[in-house]
């Protein structure tokens, strides 16, 4: 499979990563090498094999629907990039 530079740009956009033209060219070359390695998988016949998503065959636990966390807003906001009046500040989203 061959990856195009447009694919790289699209993926970078989906992943919310700003990329320069130089970075696109470098990433294109390196990702192509990695996908050549990954392509080795295609030779394997996996008909009838169930996908394995997890090492242990366990089911999700349930817990009582009770509050387990205490309010630590001040502590959490002390490491935020920008806060005001207890709110996280981001650029305006809605006009």
């Amino acid at each position: 499979m061959s990856l195009t530079t447009d694919d790289v740009k699209k993926v970078a956009r989906l992943a919310r990563l700003a990329v320069t033209e130089t970075e696109v060219a470098a990433a294109h070359q390196q990702l192509s090498g990695i996908f050549d390695l990954i392509a080795e998988m295609q030779a394997v016949d996996t008909t009838g094999i169930a996908p394995m998503s997890h090492a242990q065959d366990v089911t999700q636990r349930l817990r009582e629907d009770v509050v387990t966390e205490t309010n630590q807003r001040a502590l959490f906001q002390s490491i935020a990039p920008q806060v005001e009046a207890g709110l996280y500040l981001v650029p305006q989203v809605i006009e």
Binding site: R16, L37, I38, M41, M52, A55, V90
Partner: protein, 484 residues
Amino acid sequence: MLNSSLKQLGAALRVKKISSVELTRLYLDRIAQLNPQLNAFITVNPEMSLAQAKAADARIAAGTADALTGIPLAQKDIFCAKGWLTTCGSKMLHNFVSPYDAHVISQFNNAGAVNLGKTNMDEFAMGSSNETSYYGPVKNPWDTARVPGGSSGGTAAAVAARLCAAATGTDTGGSIRQPAALCGISGLKPTYGVCSRYGMIAFASSLDQAGPMGRSAEDLALMLNVMAGFDERDSTSLQREKEDYARDLNKPLTGLRIGLPKEFFAAGMGSDVAQAVEAAIAEYKKLGAAIVDISLPNSKLSVPVYYVLAPAEASSNLSRFDGVRYGYRAPEYSDLTDMYEKSRAQGFGAEVKRRIMIGTYVLSHGYYDAYYIKAQRIRRLIAQDFVEAFKQCDVIMGPTSPSTAFKLGEKGDDPVQMYLSDIYTIAVNLAGLPGMSIPCGFGDNNMPVGLQIIGNYFEEARMLNVAHQYQLATDWHSRAPQGI
């Protein structure tokens, strides 16, 4: 003191031959002296370490000390520790002072252990040489022109250089075992689910597992006794009876069946590594073990499968770093999307961005089945190989890494070459099995070689027994780098 086992240190502390404060100062002085050349620690905080040491001394005086009370340890910088800078080796978290403790950290705190500092690592644990760290590469104490391995390279170098008594690592594709091998120390990745992942910054959640790194199997057993255990805050933490991982250390190895996978002894392994590993197998025969030839036919596919699954999970996990609630935010941006894109572009290093892009691609519409689901199907084949193999043997052995420590910069710009240095370790993570590495000699340029021991699920105590008996019969594990 620097070469004492954890058991000996614990005994010395309890009979007050030395205090925890004195021991902590000893290590802090060594870190101050040697870290400038090794770069094994990202953060040290003598004030916080000494406060823990004082508390430990009080606990020892009160007669309520546990096995690790007062012992100075180091923590990989992937573990959130309250009040400590926790960077995960990334600029993205350069200012992240954790507001909470990882489960593993609180287990050590409850045990009264002292945290000496946070060890350097590949950025977000993505790397096999420690060269992707935003805080600069760690140097191998055996030869500072060489890498310590990765991603737990800071921990491995710190243990090898006697900058701490023992330390923690994490292993997603070999990140405990490969640096342990390259630095001549012991390291254990437990069965997936044995140690809680709560507060351990996520890379690939279905593969990540914390484990101990130290100078001997006996030390690892004492560390794992503290680290392991059920935690309801990790949805994949396993509910099992508490066990003493040191219980079987002294059992003889008579009748032990060691499986040697032919795929691990084929082309690709350095002749110096092969020689040391074969000598170790010969030693095991002397100790009463029998050798069984086995095959793991699909293990050769573990690298391609891993480089689909791990980046896929990483691209999802790392989407949380958006510059809004914590971590790095770009200084200039035009709108919200621009803020995300610039913060992430500036906050993440090249390897992390590469893996996020691979993961985003393999999960995107039209490619999901061909890559992600295909990789998950082969993951099952790889795991089934081990199930078959363990019908014929008790443990599996082979090399940990195809070569000894390579030179800084040697693998340069080719990510695929770097990825292949984890060729013997990755299959173990895909299957969720426990694996360890112990020193078994020296190869070219007098660099350490690691022997990998793979056990069946929940067989950590037996693996530690297998490693300990070897360490009673040999002294590779007690060798220290020159000038350290």
